[in-house]
Structures are given as structure tokens and as C-alpha cells.
């Protein structure tokens, strides 16, 4: 009897999952790779900084109280940790800790900002202005509002990805309740003219919301210089944990929202629900590290970006950078390789983790709507690849990526009939294709 129990216990504790990697490489979803790919997709997510993990662990195992428990030490120490993290996040954006609300991520913060603001002020304000290159969660929230009878203006962007300030000025109406423009675009990395937009919004008295998920910890974010009323922040883009984000809500003049999560009134009634202490502590630690290391990281990222871009450009022609080169975050390099399809390039670059367009649109087969908004031709829109460089990217990785990319592009171009035609001098745009 005892031996039977022992045998079953042993069987249960042995791993039943086939190991992912073997001596011959990794096999997953039918694909064989020689090893773990080089990670150059920092806009999708970033690895957690080991220092952030160190800060988080005690709150999982020993200091695990609910921060809203008011009657014992476990609650008090959790609450203290949450408030300390709140101050860390606030100081990175030059706000007061009282203006920070913790949420489950930038998507939730965007939802609260767009839908919450418009529903609160819906008696007089029926109009929202946003851009065509916003993140999906903002665009979907706006579409949802349209279903409910609100008017939304989607501002087009210039070919360099920036909005036209005069168009913004002319779109503002007397019943405009919100202007939402993201600070740094997640697909092409361009930085919108935040101070000028803030000035226009202040002039017309319209609340200004920005999705600063990609901007936090990478460029200088100042809620007063930008005159924002609401700002969405994300934890996992600044080397913090996934599943946490924050929403900045201005106190003077006070902006109010209709809460999207109802409950016991936590987080000033805006976001009910137990605040996840370890995640919030992680985000706070990540923000503190970012404050100290932002300048150094920025210099390093610019050097790596130059290394990547020059490395590719010296060996390939027909390489276009999507989006403005001047107003850009260096860690986001979105390149289009002429006559090469982006998805097939990715399939060939199995040892490099990059993406075409954003992670949340990668499921759809359509080319990225951001590139379409840039006015990029259909054929070029399919060719884009986004390289993301971050704090932990090394020079060897960049060199290897250059080598792999150049080889793959050359190989694909050999196979490309369009490239052949161009080399022979035929203008393929004037060709009458036999089929559709």
C-alpha cells in the first residue's frame, strides 16, 4: 500500500511536459530555432529589471497584506508600500502622488480616460478629438462612444507621423469634451508636439488626455509643461511587471470621470478593487530606476540605433524609415525594405524577435493602420519591420541582427519578381496586371 502511494507520488512529481530545448535547438509550434531569439521587440514589452523583481518579491511571500486592511500591520505595511510606489511614479512625471491612480494597465487607463470623461460630462460635451495613429484601445473606446451617440474626429497625420496643429485647432468645437493624442507612437516611435497641443487645449479649455505608455521613462514627461489633464501609464514598458499601470488625473483644475470599475471606492472611487501591492511596488521601483537612468539609457539607445541603421543602410539600398527622423524616440526603429514582404522577412529572421506593426494588431492580416495613416503606399505598408532597442540590448545583438537582416533581405530580393523588374528599369506601377 505504502509503496503504491510512493510510486504515484513520484510519478506525479516528474515533469510531464516535454522539455522545450534540446541539444539540437528549440522546437515550438512546429518551428525549429537554434536557440532563444535575440529580443528586439521592446515596444511590445520589456524584460523586468532584476532590481524591480527584488523590490517586488517580499510583497508576495512575507508582506502579503491587503493595503485596504486598516486594522493590522499587514495592511498598514502594504498601504505604506503602495503610497511609496505612488510617490515614485508621480515624481517621474512631475505630478503629485494624490493625482496617481493605479490600474491594471495602460489599456484600462485609456478606457477610464476616454469613456469615463465623456460619460461624466455627457450633458454638454458630445465631441472627442483623437488621431488616426492612436493605440487600439483608444480607437476602440472612441468607436464605442460613437455607437452611443458621441461625435469623434479622427485627425489625420502628416507623412512624418505628426499631427497638423492647425487642423487640431480647427476641429475643436464648443462641445468638445476631450482631446486624446498619444505622446510616443508604439509602432513608429514619433513624438507628437505635446507642449503645443497642451497650449491649444488650454486656450480652448478642453481636457487633454495622452497615452504616455511608450514615453514613460524614455523621454522627459512633465504633466505641467504638457498641460495634460489625464495621462495613461504602463508598467511593463518601463522594465516593470505586466498587469499594472497608472492613470494621472489632474487635481487643479479637477477632472472627473465616471468609474469603469464600481465597488468599494478604492483609488479615490475611480478604480475600485484591491490594489495589487507587489505589482504596484514593481512599477514604482521601475519608475525610480528610470528616473536615475533615463539619460544614460537614452544616450546608449541612440548609439545602438545608429549602429543598427547604418549597419543596414551601408549594405542595402531601398531602406525607408517610417515616421519623422527628428521627432522620434530612438529605441523604436520602424523600417521598410522595398520589394520585400514584412511577414516573409520575419519568417526568415527566426533568430530575431521583432514584429511588423504592433503586437495587438498582429493577429489581423491587414497592414498596420498606422502606416496607412502615414500615407505609405500599399506595397510599402506590407514591408515594415519594427526594431525595438532597450536598456538590455547589447552591441553584439545589434551586429548580429544587422547581419541576419541584410542576408535575409538580399535572399528575398533575389526571389522577388518586382525587384527584377526594377533592376531592368520597368516601372511596375504602370503595369497592367492580368489578374485582380
Amino acid at each position: 500500500m505504502a509503496s503504491k502511494i510512493m510510486a504515484s507520488t513520484v510519478r506525479r512529481t516528474l515533469p510531464h511536459i516535454r522539455p522545450l530545448s534540446t541539444a539540437a535547438g528549440i522546437s515550438i509550434k512546429g518551428v525549429k530555432i537554434s536557440g532563444r531569439p535575440l529580443y528586439l521587440d521592446m515596444q511590445a514589452t520589456s524584460p523586468v529589471d532584476p532590481r524591480v523583481l527584488d523590490a517586488m518579491l517580499p510583497y508576495f511571500i512575507s508582506q502579503y497584506g491587503n493595503p485596504h486592511s486598516r486594522t493590522h500591520l499587514y495592511g498598514w505595511e502594504s498601504d505604506q508600500a503602495v503610497e511609496a510606489a505612488r510617490a515614485q511614479v508621480a515624481s517621474l512625471i512631475h505630478a503629485s502622488p494624490k493625482e496617481i491612480i493605479f490600474t491594471s494597465g495602460a489599456t484600462e487607463s485609456n478606457n477610464i480616460s476616454v469613456k469615463g470623461v465623456m460619460r461624466f460630462y455627457n450633458e454638454n460635451k458630445k465631441h472627442v478629438i483623437t488621431t488616426q495613429t492612436e493605440h487600439k484601445c483608444v480607437l476602440d473606446s472612441c468607436r464605442h462612444l460613437q455607437q452611443q451617440g458621441f461625435d469623434v474626429t479622427y485627425l489625420p497625420v502628416k507623412p512624418d507621423g505628426l499631427i497638423d496643429l492647425n487642423e487640431l485647432r480647427n476641429s475643436i468645437r464648443s462641445d468638445t469634451g476631450l482631446v486624446s493624442v498619444m505622446a510616443v507612437n508604439n509602432e513608429i516611435g514619433v513624438i507628437q508636439p505635446m507642449e503645443e497641443i497642451g497650449r491649444i487645449c488650454m486656450e480652448f479649455g478642453v481636457p487633454f488626455h495622452t497615452d504616455a505608455a511608450q514615453a514613460l521613462g524614455k523621454i522627459r514627461v512633465d504633466v505641467n509643461k504638457w498641460n495634460v489633464s489625464l495621462m495613461s501609464l504602463s508598467g511593463h514598458k518601463v522594465y516593470g511587471p505586466k498587469g499594472v499601470g497608472a492613470l494621472y488625473m489632474r487635481r487643479r483644475p479637477r477632472i472627473r470621470v465616471e468609474p469603469q470599475m464600481n465597488g468599494g471606492g478604492q483609488e479615490r472611487g475611480v478604480r475600485s478593487g484591491t490594489v495589487a501591492t507587489p505589482l504596484v511596488v514593481g512599477m514604482g521601483a521601475a519608475c525610480e530606476i528610470a528616473m536615475k537612468e533615463m539619460e544614460y539609457d537614452a544616450k546608449r539607445v541612440v548609439k545602438l540605433k545608429d549602429r543598427l541603421l547604418n549597419g543596414i543602410r551601408t549594405r542595402l539600398d531601398g531602406v525607408m524609415v517610417n515616421g519623422s527622423m527628428e521627432r522620434r524616440y530612438a529605441g523604436n526603429l520602424n523600417l521598410s525594405f522595398a520589394y520585400v514582404e514584412g511577414e516573409s522577412l520575419l519568417m526568415g529572421l527566426k533568430e530575431v524577435a521583432v514584429s511588423t506593426g504592433s503586437a495587438c494588431t498582429s493577429a489581423s492580416l491587414e497592414p498596420s493602420y498606422v502606416l496607412r495613416a502615414l500615407g505609405v503606399d500599399d506595397d510599402m505598408a506590407h514591408t515594415s519591420v519594427r526594431f525595438g532597442i532597450g536598456r538590455f540590448t547589447t552591441e553584439e545583438e545589434v551586429d548580429k541582427v544587422v547581419e541576419l537582416t541584410v542576408n535575409q533581405v538580399k535572399k528575398l530580393r533575389e526571389m522577388s519578381p518586382l525587384y527584377e523588374m526594377v533592376k531592368e528599369g520597368i516601372d511596375y506601377k504602370s503595369v497592367q496586371w492580368a489578374q485582380h
Binding site: 461624466f120 460630462y121 487635481r251 487643479r252 479637477r254 471606492g265 479615490r268 472611487g269 475611480v270
Partner: protein, 175 residues
Amino acid sequence: MLAPKSLQLGAQAIKGLSRVSHFSKFVAPATIPCVQDGELYSTTATSSADGGNEEKEKISVTFVDKDGEETQIKVPIGMSMLEAAHQNDIELEGACEGSLACSTCHVIVMDVEHYNKLEEPTDEENDMLDLAFGLTETSRLGCQVIAKPELDGLRLALPAATRNFAVDGFKPKPH
């Protein structure tokens, strides 16, 4: 900024006075009559008898509850809406008794003009208002709205519930 502050101080003084008179059963001074539960009739008889004097010292305020029922009362100048409501048995909860620590005396000012005549809410009041149930653009805390002559004819709507909500309809009595 100073003038309204002195008005507030005056209001506090008068409030203190009325509370003392309530507890020790002194004869209330003529300037602060206790309004009984005759909501519609209150002290109109005496006010008309005294002529202009009484009219200046009380304003007419209408409370509209969530079912649309209206109750008109007379509120002496300097008294907060919360206290006036309690004295007239209007269902306005005031859990913290006017110390800016809760959102249960939340009222909605129905006319934007009257709302604009009120002073700007302080940060503390705004913080508590953020937690109020059924917040609107013209919401205020009843304990911070002090009666003054310009607010005559003020209409205040009572929200459907407060943060201390009890779905079984239980209503806590004012303490």
C-alpha cells in the same frame, strides 16, 4: 478670499450657538429660530409680521428627492444645507457631521447659475466629492454650502444613494 472666510467663521459661530441652545434648552435668540417639522408653513407667519428683517435672514431652499418629491424650507443665513436638512427631517445623511471626511451629504445644485454663485470647492471638498455616488458637474457637499442671500430659491436634488449604500433601503438617522 478673506470675505467668504469671515462668512464661514461667522457661520461656524452661529452654528455653535444654535447647537448649544439646542442641548441646554435655552431660549433661542431671535435671530436663529428653530424650524419645526411643518415643512411648508415654517415661520412664514412671523416673518411677514416682522416685515423686511426676517426675509433678509432666511432664504428659501427646495430639496428634491430621488422620487421627484419637493420639500421647501427656509434656511437662515449662515446655516449649512446639511444642518437645515436635518432640522427639517429631510433625508440627507451626514455621517461625519460636516467635518469634510465623507461624501454622504452630497447634493446636486439644479441651477447652473446658483452653482456658479457658490464659492469654488476646496481641494479637501473635491477629494470627498470624488467618492460621492452619482456625481455630476454641479455637485457639492451639503455641509459646505452655506446659506447666503444670493442663493434664495436654491433647488437641491438629492442623489439616489450615498457611498454608505444599503440595498435593503436602510437609512441611518442623523446623530
